[in-house]
Symmetry: C2
Subunit: 429 residues, 2 copies
């Protein structure tokens, strides 16, 4: 891992958004599902997953039997994690409000859950029960009445779904689950088929085909953001334990060759100690190949004159995950402008947030923390404005509304007010 001054570094990743061939293939799949419905879903399952799907919907019995197939320790941990995630997200929930005016008018904002949300869950090795919780529970807290999950069979050639995924879904309140994956699943959620009703929003991670499909159907339905490669920045001073810092950097690097793990520190001693620790800890990691490439291509140890300068570098990078391991980490919190999740102190290792503490692990990647937020309850709600204008308010303000409308050359707008002033003014006077 290279040590360099912060001003010599720029994080440059050219993120791949799919080849023209992939885009074309995704479009074709989506339009076919739109036209042919369930028949297309079954055909693609045979073609891509080598699976004959009889029942698209996963039965209650299959969900129940999943509980018998998972460890007690897994079940206990996922239940406690779900409770924590639920408790944290409950605090995000907002209510409709109204504002009563002295003239009798009422203005307000209605805040409601979306009606139906589709959650994509990848199959195979990327089937993460923690992601099921993180995507589904905020929807449940929002009050979304229909949360539906789509996921491909766990292994090619067999129609069964990973029981851990089924248990996580069930714990997150999701009981409507379909065994379908890929772009075809996104198409089903966007436009509906005989078996799967169309949703208002599609969320969840997926491979490049799923990402392209989500982008394609956006507009017909809402989608969450499309995740880019992941980042961690650790801002640390000489009080930090080099072994902890190195382990946290590697926990990000093991995700993906394009993940980025960066230490920013004013301490040359820590820089060198972390460099040595990363090399040492890498040796025995199962995902050593991925992590090594990530560290080599997008990892760095950046030296700065002070933690204050480090904060400025953090704000430029706008990392998905930020750890601050320093004496008095809270003193830097108010200066952090751009970061998806901020982990403070030596015990707040990133996996604490990935799995358990309660805040969401779906976070803005690739510098978008400048303007985006962690997945949250608002993402599953929508607002409507409410205007109940009183007769008095209209008679009082009508002329001003007419003046503004006429200035903008919108005569029909002016007349809609004028016609009322003429009738109501008379009836008053």
């Amino acid at each position: 891992m290279k040590i360099m001054p912060a001003n010599a570094f720029a994080l440059k990743r050219e993120v791949e958004y799919g080849s023209p061939e992939q885009n074309e293939s995704v479009q074709r799949i989506i339009e076919t599902v739109r036209r042919e419905g369930d028949a297309a879903l079954r055909r693609y399952a045979e073609q891509f997953d080598r699976v004959t799907v009889d029942e698209l919907r996963v039965s209650e019995a299959e969900i129940e039997s999943a509980y018998a197939q998972v460890d007690e320790s897994f079940l206990a941990a996922i239940r406690e994690a779900a409770d924590n995630v639920r408790r944290f997200h409950e605090k995000q929930k907002r209510t409709s409000w109204m504002d009563l005016q002295p003239d009798g008018s009422i203005l307000g904002q209605v805040i409601r859950p979306l009606r139906r949300v589709g959650l994509y869950v990848p199959g195979g090795k990327a089937a993460y029960p923690s992601s099921v919780l993180m995507n589904a529970i905020p929807a449940q807290v929002a009050g979304v009445p229909e949360i539906v999950m789509v996921t491909p069979p766990a292994t090619a050639g067999a129609a069964g779904i990973d029981p851990h995924i089924l248990v996580a879904a069930s714990e997150a309140g999701v009981r409507e689950i379909y065994r379908v994956g890929g772009a075809q699943a996104v198409a089903a959620l966007a436009y509906g088929t005989e078996s799967i009703a169309a949703a208002d929003k599609i969320v969840g991670p997926g491979n490049i085909y799923v990402a392209l499909a989500k982008r394609y159907v956006f507009g017909a339905v809402d989608i969450d953001s499309i995740a880019g490669p992941s980042e961690i920045v650790v801002l640390a001073d000489e009080t930090a334990d080099a072994a902890y810092v190195a382990a946290d950097l590697l926990s990000q690097a093991e995700h993906d060759e394009m993940a980025s793990a960066i230490l920013i520190t004013p301490s040359q001693a820590l820089a060198e100690a972390v460099q040595a620790e990363v090399a040492r800890q890498l040796e025995t990691l199962p995902k050593k190949d991925i992590a090594s490439q990530s560290i080599r291509d997008y990892g760095a140890i950046l030296t700065v004159a002070s933690l204050e300068e480090g904060v400025r570098v953090v704000n430029q990078l706008a990392p998905e995950h930020l750890e601050i391991i320093a004496s008095e980490p809270f003193q830097y919190l108010s200066a952090i402008e751009n970061a998806g999740a901020i982990f403070l102190g030596p015990y707040s290792s990133e996996p604490v947030g990935d799995y358990f503490a309660g805040p969401n692990h779906v976070l803005p990647t690739n510098g978008t923390a400048r303007f985006s937020s962690p997945l949250n309850v608002d993402d599953y709600m929508k607002k409507s404005s409410v205007i109940y204008y009183s007769k008095e308010a209209l008679l009082q303000n009508g002329d001003k509304i007419i003046a503004l409308a006429k200035h903008e050359g919108l005569e029909a707008h002016a007349r809609a007010i004028q016609i009322r002033l003429e009738k109501e003014g008379k009836s008053r006077g």
Copy 2:
């Protein structure tokens, strides 16, 4: 205006998102501005607006002198409208929060304004002071420290900006204004030039080139939604005044040939009276041609068995604007799932909300009220999660985090916790 049963109607508009030539032209403009900066902005001003721009930034003196060029009545109306918009949006603002745990951990959510927001304002006839207020004031309420406006010269051949726009901007707290428009202005806001610093988000209406440019730069910066054609649905019973209903339908229809104005009513008498009134009022409208075409192509009077059935039709249409003119309009409010803004009662004519009452007039169009919201203060803020885990919490929960990480095959995640449990567990015991 045709009268038909509601179940015989479907609103079908094929919205145009730009030709390949337009897309190519926009891409070329953006990449040129990105490469050449201010020089490209000046060149495009000469090419597209036949204007030689000396100073890109509008001077304080020009803003001050704009006040002398607008009517007293306009100024008074815009000031009162601005106050109303500010008061309404203040109620949307949220604060950061934290949640203290018994084990000493602290979880929280930091909510901050975006740092820099760019507001696009069209020139010429589409230069609407009301849009300046609606886009800028929520940003100001959010606390965005830098709100910058870009707008092309008011008339081709002269560099001056419409004084009404300058006054509206100034009243909304915007003092950093550049005379540049089109795709080139969007490029400047997205990537920055020598004179114009890059923004984190770009909002505001514009023509097809502006819309395509916003879509092209999305990702580098955030953008607002791209507005489609506008809609009004009036849900009314026999107590409604046909002349009011007709006037409100026409106020939407005059916007655009693709705008849609729809009455839904259980009253055949009202249906026929509104039909006659629309024809009568159309005759003398300055924008008669636009409004007639809109009414012919996308307008309808839909008859239903009851207002309850009408509400179901409303929810399917998910209109941008909904008026409910009926005895006891509030009794239907809780059943309205999908609508951008809801206007209740005979005095809440749509222009009341377009110009004056306080709620935003930037609303979800084209059925997207199913999952989108009016422009609001949240759109100018971002969140970060905060996790401060205590040593006790880590020792208590570490094993569960490790179990979940191992289950997902993420060994480096597990080790980041394990290494702490080993050291800290020892130091405790």
